[in-house]
């Protein structure tokens, strides 16, 4: 482990028995887990390189129980890590040795669907896909579709502001959530947003979404549901150069077309995917583009007519249009299997998640190749091309001493590169523990202090999910007094954890 978490508080560890007893008084029966073997099931999330069994796991079933747990932990200064389905790729649900892990999996009910108002009220442990399953017989769906949608929970989606391949057209989680019930660390239950479009005052929902479990625990979510498009068609385009594919994407958008999805794969990813699922991808190209169009049939047909000459003008050497649903799904099969396909090439892979201005793509890929040579680690790229969200997959072998650290250093260099060209550290996976120490690459001490003061407004004792997002967790009292001049803090930086 190359990242350090806050050192466990010995005094809290010494109170473990009393803390477990207090939790049992709130949540009866099997809802409190303290056996070491059982705790191990919760020791990591989707960022499996980092593991830490929690002090205790609590699985509440009601908002009142969540409120009681948080109020008790607040009063007794015990840290709490909320967890949905544990699919975070940035370590957002990594437990703490001296913390309560608050599992929300029992909040698994769809409470209400209102088709006239096009919304669904769901509990946070409902999976992303289950929302769509609950409304699809009436021709509706929930638009954000992170690749983990079969497993990831809506509560986790809210915490991470999850995206997916369709978010250029349909937005991220934040654009598809209307309201939420959240429990503050004080135990207070508040409703933010609602069923209407504009909030009554400050857009508190807006800052809760994507706050990675540091501001409150979501106990109910109201999401927008959309009518399912009548049709979807996909184009599969092969290009001899990355530049050609990148320019094609820019020209499609410049022509006024916002496709439902625009995915790019580089040569390494194409070959890995084709070998794995035999999707029929061309192998003699440097870049593959999948462009999906949805809407009424006439819309798909019309946009296909717009895009084909653009692809040809940018040198596409292969062009296939899905003739039926089976073929459309076949085009996607390779892309959707890209991660496991690349995973076959090496014992381990590390998935990165930066966003760049699209126009910088050729340069970023070129410099990534140089870094790849320097680190001696191969990399394959899949790219949400429409919105510039890059997922480099770094191949390594964790069993070789030092290789994980090398992969992480390579990944950090890629993210620094993303920021250098005008992009960001994370497009949809969140900061978590993974990118925490890179935050100063993108934000000054002043920028981060403004974010962390919001944390203090919600959680003054920094008990909710500490060790995530912020590289340095200033005490709130310090932060309130801190005045910063000319980019330098007037106070010496507190020791990091």
């Amino acid at each position: 482990m190359t990242l350090s978490m806050p050192a466990p508080d010995e005094a809290v560890l010494a109170r473990r028995g009393a803390i477990i007893a207090a939790m049992r008084a709130i949540v009866p029966g099997e809802g409190v887990i303290d056996h070491p073997d059982a705790l191990r099931a919760y020791e990591s999330d989707g960022l499996t390189a980092y593991r830490q069994p929690p002090m205790v796991v609590v699985l509440p079933e009601t908002t009142a129980e969540v409120a009681a747990i948080l109020a008790w932990c607040h009063e007794n200064r015990v840290k709490v890590v909320p967890r949905g389905s544990g699919t975070s790729l940035s370590g957002g649900a990594l437990p703490l040795a001296d913390g309560v892990l608050l599992g929300m999996s029992k909040f698994n009910q769809v409470l209400e669907v209102d088709y006239a108002d096009r919304l669904a009220v769901v509990q946070p442990g409902v999976t992303n896909l289950a929302v769509t399953r609950a409304v699809e017989d009436r021709g509706f769906y929930y638009a954000p579709d992170p690749s983990s949608q079969i497993a990831c929970s809506i509560g986790g989606n809210v915490a991470e502001n999850s995206g997916g391949v369709h978010c250029l057209k349909y937005g991220l989680t934040t654009n598809n959530v209307l309201g939420a019930e959240i429990v503050l660390i004080s135990g207070e239950v508040v409703r933010v947003g609602g069923r209407q479009l504009d909030p009554a005052g400050l857009d508190l929902l807006g800052v809760v979404v994507g706050s990675e479990g540091l501001l409150g625990v979501v106990t109910e979510v109201t999401v927008r549901i959309l009518p399912r498009p009548e049709a979807a068609r996909a184009l599969l385009l092969g290009f001899p150069t990355v530049e050609g594919a990148g320019q094609c994407v820019a020209d499609v958008i410049a022509a006024g077309v916002i496709p439902a999805g625009m995915e790019m794969m580089d040569r390494a990813a194409i070959h890995a995917a084709e070998a794995f699922v035999h999707a029929g991808y061309p192998l003699d190209v440097e870049a593959l583009l999948i462009i999906e169009l949805d809407g009424v049939e006439a819309e798909c047909a019309e946009l296909l007519g717009e895009i084909q000459p653009i692809a040809a003008a940018n040198g596409a050497v292969s062009m296939r249009i899905s003739r039926d649903e089976a073929e459309r799904l076949a085009f996607w099969a390779g892309r959707k299997a890209a991660f496991p396909a690349v995973g076959r090439l090496a014992p381990d892979y590390y998935c990165m998640d930066g966003t760049i201005p699209r126009r910088r793509l050729p340069e970023v890929l070129e410099r990534m190749r140089t870094l790849s040579d320097a680190y001696g680690l191969a990399v394959a790229n899949v790219f949400h091309a429409g919105d510039g969200n890059l997922h480099p997959l770094i191949l390594y072998d964790a069993n070789r001493p030092g290789e994980l650290e090398r992969a992480e250093a390579f990944g950090a260099d890629i993210l620094r590169l993303c920021v250098e060209v005008g992009g960001v550290l994370t497009g949809e996976h969140g900061v978590g523990v993974e990118k925490r120490d890179l935050m100063p690459v993108m934000f000054s001490e002043i920028d981060l202090a403004h974010q962390q003061r919001v944390k203090c407004a919600f959680d003054p004792h920094l008990l909710l999910n500490p060790g995530k997002v912020f590289p340095t967790l200033h005490r709130c009292a310090e932060l309130g007094r801190m005045h910063v001049h000319g980019g330098k803090t007037a106070f010496p930086e507190l020791p990091r954890f």
Binding site: T174, D198, A200, A254, A298, E299, R358, R359, E428, H450
Partner: protein, 383 residues
Amino acid sequence: MSTDAPLRPATEAELSEAIAEAAGDGARLAIRGGASKRDVGRPEAGVRSLDMRAFTGVVDYDPPELVLTVRAATALAEVQALVAAKGQMLAFEPFDHGPIYGRPPGAATIGGIVAAAVGGSQRLAYGGPRDHLLGLRAVSGRGELFVSGAKVVKNVTGYDLPKLLAGSWGRLAAITELTLKVLPAPRVSATRVLHGLSAQAAVEAMAAAMGSAAEVAAAAHLPGEVSVTAFRIQGFAGSVKARCELLASRVAPWGRLQDADDSATAIWHALRTLTPLPQNLPLWRVNVRPGAGASVVGALERYGAQWLLDWAGGLVWAAVDADPEMVRSVARSAGGHAQLLRAPSEMRAQVPYHQPPELAVAELEARVRRAFDPAGVFETGRF
């Protein structure tokens, strides 16, 4: 009104200094851009004007990246002309307050639009300013310049402070620069109408339309001798034609859908300027779930309200001289809230713009405001 001369910082450094000094002196600053919304909220006293109009101009605009970075006091009209020239739009359809106070349109700044988070009819389908605000630079009440968000369309790095600043009405920070997501403007825009529906029938028809694959961009209802229920459908020509036909079949139970392209400008202009409503009555902006729109207007009509429905019923514009508590309880019982947009200053001195939230939310909001503005330099008493 202000006693001292307005502050007119020309740079972010001067702005930081001005705010820090005012905060240190216990002064109150009213952030001013185009002043198109100066009649919103409680009349201010003893405040000094912080004139942001030096912060103008386009910083970066790259149409294929769908990203526009512009300084906050740039005129809305200028921003809209700029993106229109590249075949793009601000999809949330910025709402210019000028006309509802009887002033000409065009004075609003892009920063003011974002600070008030006001979208127009298309907000229904495309989201509001909050959904299109990607990043910003601002000086908080601490006198410190900070950045949040970014200049790319997909970003989850750190807290989404831009969402908090959108709609904060200048109570957290003075925005100097903002980055917006822009989208292609439609090649064709069609307006189709149903005539003669009651508010309840119109809300039902609009719900059916929004629940169909017709991809309706805006849906509104204007009462009258013969009421008009209007739908905007836009995009590529062939697709628009097909979707208009689809819409006609979906709303057939409520009547025959008619081509209204000739009156489209007048219909949507009415919803932008609220000209059908009397100017001499207090004006409320009531946000509710769309299905409750008809019951809200039904309740307000008993007090003589005149109204328009936008956002498929979710936005009620009501001109009514009634007990503010009654208006707010109608909104609350529909699960929403009412904002007092226009009223005589004596009334605005008594009745806040925002519907007061529950205590725990009010306390949380106050803590968030203090986080950005510990001295209350932006607390002018307006909200």
